[in-house]
Amino acid sequence: MFQRMLKKILIANRGEIAVRVLRACQEMGIAAVVVYSDVDRAALHVRKADEAYPIGVPSAAESYLNIRKILDVAERSGADAIHPGYGFLSENAKFAQACADAGVKFIGPTAAAMDAMGSKTRARQAMEKAGVPFVPGTSRGVDSFEEAERVAARIGYPVMLKAAAGGGGKGMRLVHKPQQLKSALEEARSEAERSFGDSEVYIEKAIVNPRHIEMQVLADEHGNTVYLGERECSLQRRHQKVLEEAPSPIIDPEMRSRMGAVAVRVAQAAHYTNAGTVEFLVDPQKNFYFLEMNTRLQVEHPVTELIAGLDLVHLQIRIAAGEKLPFAQEDVRIRGHAIECRIYAEDPDNNYFPSPGRITLLLEPSGPGIRCDSGMYEGWNVPIDYDPLLAKLIGYGTDREQAIARLTRAIDEYFVGGIKTNISLFRRILRDADFRSAKLDTGFLDRMLQRPEDKRVDPKAAEVAAIAAGMFTALGSTAAAAGERKGDSGSAVDAAPSKWKDASRHEALR
C-alpha cells in the first residue's frame, strides 16, 4: 500500500477554517504553513501557524485565489500537501490539477471528480446514468425559450431556473406562471453570465418548501466509500445557510441508510475521493431528490463530527496520505444531536449589512457540549475584504432538546463588542416554537423574519443599566473615560489593558 509522508501542509485559506485545519495539522505533528494578504497580517491563522507567507494585496483574486502565488509558496515552503478549506480554490479543478502537476498533494478529490460534479447539468446526467433520483427537469441547459416552455409544461409549475455553473443563489429564478417564464429566463441567463461567465441555464421542478438535507460522504483512495450521516440545512436566508443541525429531525435510521446508499452511489459514480457532501431536497412526503454534490469539506462539518465522533480533517489528511479508511460503514454510529450557528459580522437590524471594524470586547461561551470554531479575537480588526463569517458556535447534547438548551445558553453568553453580529438572530431562532418542534423547511427563516419581533424591554433592565452606568463612571472605567477623551472618534476600549486580556483569551481558543 503506497503511503506518502505528509510532514508539512499548506493551508490555502483564511479565517476560522484555516485555524481549524492548522489545529488538525498540529494535532497530527504536521507543520502548518499559512498564507496571508496584507489586511490579514494580524489574523488568528497567522498567529497560530508554524510558517507564514505574505501573498500581497487583499483582493482575493490577487491573493487567496491566486493559483500561481499559492503554488509558489508551496514550493518555497516545501509543503507536501495543500488543504484548500472551503470556498476560494477548494472546488477549482484547475487548481487541483495544478497541484497534481506540481507534485503537491491536493487534500480533496481529483480534478476529474470535481469536473464531473462541478457542472450541475453534467452532475444530473451522471446521476441519471447511476439511477439516482433527482428533481424532475432538464439535464442539459435549455437552448431556447420554446424548449423551456415545453419542459416547464411537462414537469408542471412552479419551476426553478438555475445556472449550470452556479451556486449561492445566483442565476436562479422561481417561476410560478407560464407568462413569467420568458423574462425570468432572460434574467437568469444574464445573471449567470455575469456571475460565472457561463449563461447555461437548466430547469427543475420547484418543490414547494422543501427541506435541504445533505449527506456527508468520505472515500479513501482504495475504493472504500462511506456515509457519515446527514445534516439538515433548511435554515437559509437568500440561499445562504445560517444554522445547521445533525441528524435531521425527520430522518429515521431506515431512511438514513437509503439516502446514505444513494449518496455513496453518487460519490462512486464520480470516482470521488476524500470528503464530500451530497445534497438532497426532501419534499413533505419524504421523497428525496439529488440536488448537487459539493466536492469539498463544508462549513458545517462540525455537527457531523460531533454526532459521529470523528475528526473529518484528520481523516482528510490521512486519506490524502494514502491510508485506507480506518473503519467500515457498519462501524459508523450516530449519537446525540448537534446544532451550529454561523456567527457573521453583519447587522441584523440593517438588512444584514456587513459590519467590519475593531472587536473591542469578546466574551466567548464554553462549558459542556459547546464547541466554538472561531477566527476572531478581542482587539482584531475585522476586514471588509472577505466573507464576514467570524465563527461557528456548535451545541451538542444527548438529544435535540439538550443541544438547543446548551446552544441557547451559550448564545446568551456570547458577546462581541465593537461590531455588529447576527448573534441576536440566533436568540430568536432558538426560542422560536416552530424551530423547537423541528417544523423546518427552506421557507422558515423568511417567514420568521417577516413576523414582527417582540422588542419589549423589561423596565427593570433599564434600571440595572442606569445603576451600571453610574458604577462604570464611579469606578473610573477606562471605557467611559477613554470614550470621553477620544470624544466621538469611534470605539475605544483602551488598547493597553486589552493586551493582557488577550493572554487570558488564549484559553478560550484552545
Binding site: 467590519p356 433599564a462 442606569a466 445603576i467 452606568a469 458604577m471 462604570f472 464611579a474 476600549v493
Partner: protein, 164 residues
C-alpha cells in the same frame, strides 16, 4: 456623588456613594443595596440586592452602549455639579456628529444644511460591498453642517454631518 443618567432617552437621578467599603445607592429617590466590581474595564459584575448582573460596556461611533444580558441600552452620564460643560459626543443636548460606520462611498445626500430632522431620519446613503446603507440621525434637530459631498469616499468614523 450625584449623576444624571439617561438610558434610551429616559432620565434617572442616581446617587452613588462609597464609604466603609460599602456602597449606598439611591435611584430616583429609592434606596437600593448595591455592590459592583470591574471584572475588566468594560465588564461590570453588579449586584443589586441579591440579583446578579453582568453588564458590558461598548463604545460605537461616539455612542455609549450598555448591555444588560442581551439587551442593549444607549447610556449617558452627566455629573450635574460639573462646571466644566464638557461637550460629550453622546449628549442629546449638544451637536451630534453623524459618522460613517464603515468605509465606502457617499452615493446620496438626503438632507441639506438647515433641514429639520426627526430621530431616525435618513441623512446620507453610503455604499460599500455593493450594498447601500442609510445613515440615520439619532436625534431630532437641525442639520447644522454637511461635511461630505456626493460620490466622496469615506473611512469608518469620518464625520458626514452634524445635527444640532
Amino acid at each position: 456623588m450625584l449623576y444624571d443618567v439617561t438610558i434610551d432617552g429616559k432620565n434617572y437621578r442616581l446617587d452613588l456613594n462609597r464609604g466603609d467599603g460599602r456602597w449606598s445607592c439611591r435611584l430616583d429617590g429609592r434606596e437600593l443595596e448595591v455592590d459592583a466590581i470591574l471584572a475588566r474595564p468594560d465588564v461590570l459584575s453588579l449586584r443589586i440586592g441579591n440579583m446578579a448582573y453582568e453588564v458590558k460596556s461598548e463604545r460605537v461611533a461616539g455612542d455609549w452602549h450598555l448591555w444588560v444580558g442581551s439587551t442593549c441600552f444607549a447610556a449617558e452620564v452627566r455629573d450635574p455639579r460639573s462646571l466644566r460643560g464638557r461637550s460629550r459626543a453622546g449628549d442629546v443636548h449638544g451637536p451630534k456628529k453623524i459618522t460613517a460606520p464603515m468605509p465606502g462611498k457617499v452615493v446620496r445626500l438626503l438632507v441639506r444644511e438647515g433641514d429639520e430632522v426627526k430621530p431616525g431620519a435618513g441623512v446620507a446613503v453610503v455604499e460599500a460591498m455593493k450594498m447601500q446603507n442609510e445613515i440615520k440621525s439619532p436625534k431630532k434637530g437641525t442639520v447644522q453642517k454637511i461635511l461630505v459631498s456626493e460620490s466622496a469616499t469615506v473611512n469608518a468614523g469620518d464625520v458626514l454631518a452634524i445635527v444640532e
